[in-house]
Symmetry: C2
Subunit: 123 residues, 2 copies
DNA sequence: AGTTAAATAAACCAATCAGTTAATTAACAT
DNA sequence: ATGTTAATTAACTGATTGGTTTATTTAACT
């Protein structure tokens, strides 16, 4: 099985790393800049390591400009993970249908049809 | 920050656990049944632990029927992770657009396309 | 040449993880 | 009562993770 998707999900499992990705979604920036919001609670080498994890997962690409290492999102690497997770969309939507049905059974002994929202997509 | 999404991504980072989820997408089944395809390469307690990780992440729900523990998908727990990752869809789609544009610049006779790498921020 | 700035590497540590084997619980069947 | 089946718990191990502090690289600026 794909080891890259392992690394992708594993990289996304850390809140600091997700925050770094969120920052990068606003635009390319350097390691120092990415580290700045965290330096109160962790060291620069810690951030450097997080960035390396993201890089190894293919989620970001690190360049070089003088001493700086400008990082940018490499979002397509996320696509594989997104595609995997998307195959389950039908299941959680189906579950909402079941919740919907359940709510009807407990709220409509004599009620009018309020929940006409059709969620089933068919598959 | 949300510790539940941490646990979700972390649970999804393991191929055995993803295989278990894939099996459960076909329908509810017991721990033994889930373990069966893996017993050549790992022990039952190992699978039992994987299932507990999935349960703690809220990705599956474990019931009881006589001695068996029937497990079923609880896909809505995946939705939070899916939603997070979906916010980046625009970026990987845009990236493909940019790749497309880049390929055009290098295959065009008049190529002197010096891209400034600046991403369109703000929206 | 010496200094500063940006980032990483090295060495270390505690905690968590993924697996093992052996023992145990719980429910059922003789 | 005894045994069988399904699954978990306990105790242990080696590898990985996430962080630290200190030292080093690399490139620019006087």
């Amino acid at each position: 099985m794909s080891v890259t998707i392992d690394r992708t999900f594993s990289a996304l499992a850390d809140p600091t790393r997700r925050a770094i990705l969120a920052r990068l979604a606003l635009g390319e920036t350097t390691v120092s800049d990415l580290a700045q919001p965290f330096l109160g609670s962790m060291s620069l080498p810690a951030i450097s390591k997080h960035i390396k994890v993201l890089e190894n997962a293919g989620l970001i690409i690190k360049g070089q400009d003088k001493q700086s290492r400008p990082c940018r999102l490499n979002a397509p690497a996320m696509k594989e993970a997104a595609d995997w997770i998307e195959t389950y969309r039908a299941y959680w939507e189906e579950s909402f249908d079941r919740l919907d049905a359940y709510l009807k059974t407990i709220t409509t002994p004599s009620s009018k049809g309020k929940t006409n929202g059709k969620r089933s997509e068919g598959q």
